[in-house]
Assembly symmetry: C2
Homo-oligomer: 330 residues x 2
DNA sequence: AAATGATTTCGAAGCGCTTCGACACCTGAC
DNA sequence: GTCAGGTGTCGAAGCGCTTCGAAATCATTT
């Protein structure tokens, strides 16, 4: 059972090879009768174009690379949703997905790009000072990043709008009548590194609080229980009237709840808590939260990449955060 | 910056194109001096072979498809470890990985296979009566399955040796002096479907128990708390002297512990519990367990697939289970 | 010195597809 | 009846690589 080639289809339909190609690609007008004859032959013979030959001739592989950080510490449900959404969306655009792990590093990216194996790249979890970013800049292949590196100039990035997320949390607490609120953010070092998303959440939170005339503080937050507990204690010592807390640190959120319990402050009776974290974590603890929209991130990232493949300019985009109200705020 | 082709390398090194090809593939002897000259040119020019052209000429894409069940209900850590291991191992064999989701179904498989986009396929979580299995059988491309379908004849499958796993659990309990033990397995319907792995665990468990002259029973086990609780109650009513329980049902294991607690039986003081489940679940509950060796599964699956790609015959293999002793048995 | 055989290198023929320019045919306008 | 301008189709030239057979080179042997 030799594999069926376009020449077989052409012979079977009694037309030229190029005609078959044009029917399939739609790049030139073909009469309805010829078109139908060709399509019938395709069906009858079970023809599938050879991807390699197509890529070679057209300089388009119809494959995108998905570079995932398959290391420990990632939130798996988020990663999975993202990957699933990328694959599904890519298929809608008639593209396949080549899976790469971040630990091949820049070389892996250079390799797949230079080999014309993929037409574009999707990188998840880009770090602030990522060694791959300069490479992406002068790669011929377009790329889209999930997350913003330190200097996003000239790159296409997709991320949750953390400024708005911070603001939405503050607004939610304000609307519930809280007058004194706090943000527990990432560990201090993260701010010192100038990590964009942590800083932006903070700015949005404080701006909205100021706007609404609330008393607000924002403090970094470590991730071990003891450190979290003492930070929470310090916070309430300094601000006894505090009734609303936003936690933007998925590793610390459980500890914050524990610390509150230890201090004898009930949630939501005494203190309302809003988290900015993956949905599974918030769901488990029944927390009001702003989730990480993994599926939407994947979809938008692919959409942007496809636009770039078509030569369209594509700027970065920020996704609108959405608050899910659960049982930790009142 | 036109991309560098093999012709550029040949010109730069002052040799024929075919010589460059042979240097790179090692398929013919090339003198050391020529070889070095070519390799230098490759380095200087930054040459990377065009994957499409290579695939077209050699009929080898150097890509394998990884078909994952990206639906809910999978144990994510297991899936991730598996995927990571597959990608890493494939790279060792100079192959890349095309990521597909099971929801494209047989058509997706047919598509990538017929388009010569991949040389082989890796399917995870194959179901007992999987519609893709007959397809795989008469596909030209070799494939490896994780898990055993109803009829594995002529297929290459990799899985944990559940017969041994059942036996190891029984043996562990026997060594600790337990004389009356039970296996809580998959829900009844799973056995009725004739699912291989559930039945094999059961057989291994009972055989080992008989061997060691223990009193052993094996019962199916549902997955809601109430059903589990009543099953556990019935079990202990019927066998008051029961002191060892093996749970082979990752969804039920938490409920079993709860039910035991409700019956006033302490673990491990009154009852020893061994689980056959993903490591994260056992780790969380500090259970002695036989884990699902995701990483090893990935590695072995790729190894088998590569063997088949080289035309070697490859039978199915069963991985040796390993017991991790934690705090639930004594 | 010629012949033999190994060893190393070369040239050319594809692999299956896309795409460009050209050709054939058909309209309708003059 | 001729010619301009569409349509629809074809043929051929690659795309960049692998691989086969043959040529060229060199060391041995007779």
């Amino acid at each position: 059972m030799r594999t069926v080639t376009i020449a077989d289809v052409a012979r079977h339909a009694g037309v030229a090879v190029s005609t078959v190609s044009y029917v399939l690609s739609g790049k030139r007008a073909i009469s309805a009768t010829t078109r139908q004859r060709v399509l019938d032959s395709v069906r009858v013979l079970g023809y599938h174009p050879n991807a390699g030959a197509r890529a070679l001739a057209s300089k388009r592989a119809n494959v995108i690379a998905l570079v995932l950080p398959l290391r420990a510490g990632m939130n798996l449900p988020v990663l999975m949703q993202f990957a699933t959404s990328v694959v599904a969306t890519a298929r809608q655009y008639d593209h396949d997905v080549l899976l790469m792990t971040a630990d091949e590093g820049p070389d892996g990216i250079r390799r797949v790009a230079a080999s014309a194996m993929v037409d574009g790249l999707l990188l998840m979890d880009v770090e602030v000072r990522d060694t791959r970013v300069p490479l992406l800049r002068d790669l011929a292949e377009p790329s889209v990043l999930i997350g913003f590196p330190a200097d996003a100039e000239g790159l296409t990035c997709v991320d949750l709008d953390f400024h708005r997320a911070g603001a939405i949390c503050a607004a939610h607490l304000a609307e519930r009548g809280h007058r004194e609120i706090a943000l527990l953010g990432a560990p201090g070092v993260v701010y010192e590194r100038g990590t964009g998303f942590a800083e932006r959440t903070r700015a949005g939170f404080l701006a909205e609080a100021t706007e609404r005339d609330l008393h607000a503080v924002a403090v970094p937050c470590a991730e071990t229980y003891d450190e979290v507990a003492s930070a929470v204690k310090l916070l309430f010592d300094a601000h006894p009237g505090l009734t609303g807390v936003v936690v933007h640190n998925e590793a610390a959120v459980g500890h914050v709840l524990g610390a509150l319990r230890a201090l004898g402050r009930a949630v939501p009776e005494d203190v309302s808590v809003v988290a900015i974290c993956p949905d599974d974590i918030a769901e488990r603890a029944r927390l009001t939260s702003v989730l990480i929209p993994a599926e939407e991130l994947g979809r938008e990232a692919v959409r942007l990449l496809m636009a770039k493949l078509d030569g369209l300019p594509a700027g970065s985009i920020l996704l609108e955060p959405r608050l899910t109200i659960r049982e930790s705020t009142r």
